[in-house]
Amino acid sequence: MNLFCIRYHLPVILLFCLLFSWPGGPLTAVAEAENPSEAGEMDPEYLEFLEEFEEEEEAEETLQVADPLYYWNKSMYYFNDRLYFWVLKPVARGYQFVTPQPVRTGFKNFFTNLTTPVRFVNCLLQGKSEAAGVELGRFMVNTTFGGLGFFNLARLEPSLQEIPDDEDLGQTLAVYGIGNGFYIVWPVLGPSTLRDTLGTLGDGFLDPVAYVDPTAAAAGIRAFEQVNGLTFRLGDYETLKDSAIEPYEAIRNAYIQNRQKKIKE
């Protein structure tokens, strides 16, 4: 991961992002087929229901995302799926088996604490000064008394108990009015959009792990963070996939819905 390289490319990416995300821009339009409908006979109770959400559906167009890289994305989806079942899941299970839960929670806290600068700055960029204050307070308490963040001691202080919602640069850009652009699935990193990718790159400047040298060590730390985090979410990906008729579409939609919620918060 060569950050300096990215720095040079940022203006180009930004331009790209704007081009794709401009509301009503050439590439953001999503085709919508109109289905002329005729009312069948049905329960009045449900009929009322049907009419109601047809309105609701109109408002839902924002949940659509353009997918011009469909074929690339779909192959990356398959790649990540294999990576999960063949590598990540077995490794996470083995690690979970040999590592007691308090230790894993400690590492999870540690990594959460480490990325405080990212959340702090983005809280400020979104004008959430109160949340920024809580982030800063938590960081100070947990880094010192909480042993570099392994222990979440901030929970003992009533004003720091409530953990603020996660903020990142992708959300900040969204708050500034920049759209998703288009959907993109990265190998290993998973689902994202053009805007959120740009956000992740920007946030990288505030993430201490990105400055670890050599790069291989940084990658190792990242991998460990991922595996450790995964032990708390094992089975969730399987449920989402198993419940879906079109898993690729289900995951794309879930990503967009989840981001939408975070942006609103």
Binding site: G40, I245, E246, N253, Q257, K261
Partner: protein, 207 residues
């Protein structure tokens, strides 16, 4: 004078009471069966009899969820393009799909998870959302919001959508079904769901 007023107030309250007492509260209609379900999941009696546990939980789930409403909402606009037979068939297979996935999930994964009921928000006379949180080991919190409506026929509040970490179940299916129905017929969709159900059933039997 005072007496008359107090009598009047009491009378008014008395008359007004039944109107409120009649209707149950969404939170209660959800909380009751949900807690019964958790008790069944934790009951050691069922550790060797998973099928019976499954059926017991399913009975409760059927009381809590309005599967027809979920089916209609998932198809949205396309619902009207289905013949009445197809609508019924779709409702049956889709309900089966939800049953399979979610019962597997809670039966397989529910270790020491805890459900906290946070809030109940009345959106209107017969619509409400109930906010809950599932707390997993290691203090991992997962917000789950249930959208509920009051069913006049059963005089009970039932769930018509579940929102997990911002992802609405109904909207997620709606998006999938729409993309399938843009290309294929209602019959094809029903067939695909049915195939998935058969596969789920086989996987479960093989466990």
């Amino acid at each position: 004078m005072k007496k008359i007023i107090s009598v009047l107030i009491t009378l008014t309250l008395f008359l007004a009471m039944p109107a409120y007492a009649e209707k149950s509260k969404p939170l209660d209609d959800l909380k009751g069966p949900l807690e019964q379900g958790i008790a069944i999941l934790k009951d050691p009696e069922y550790t060797s009899n998973r099928e019976e546990q499954r059926e017991k939980i399913w009975e409760l789930v059927q009381k809590m969820f309005d599967f027809k409403a979920i089916a209609i909402r998932a198809l949205a606009r396309n619902w009207r393009g289905f013949s009445p037979e197809q609508q019924d068939e779709f409702t049956v297979v889709f309900t089966e799909l939800l049953k399979n996935t979610y019962l597997d999930k809670i039966q397989g994964q529910f270790h020491d998870e805890e459900v906290v009921f946070e809030d109940q928000d009345m959106l209107s006379e017969d619509k409400a959302v109930v906010e809950t949180k599932v707390i997993r080991q290691g203090n991992v919190e997962i917000p789950i919001i249930y959208s509920m409506h009051f069913k006049d026929t059963d005089q009970i509040w039932q769930v018509y959508d579940v929102n997990i970490e911002g992802v609405s179940l109904v909207k997620n299916y709606r998006n999938q079904f729409k993309s399938i129905l843009d290309k294929d017929s209602p019959e094809d969709l029903i067939k695909r769901i049915r195939e998935k159900n058969v596969k789920h059933e086989q996987d479960r039997k093989n466990q």
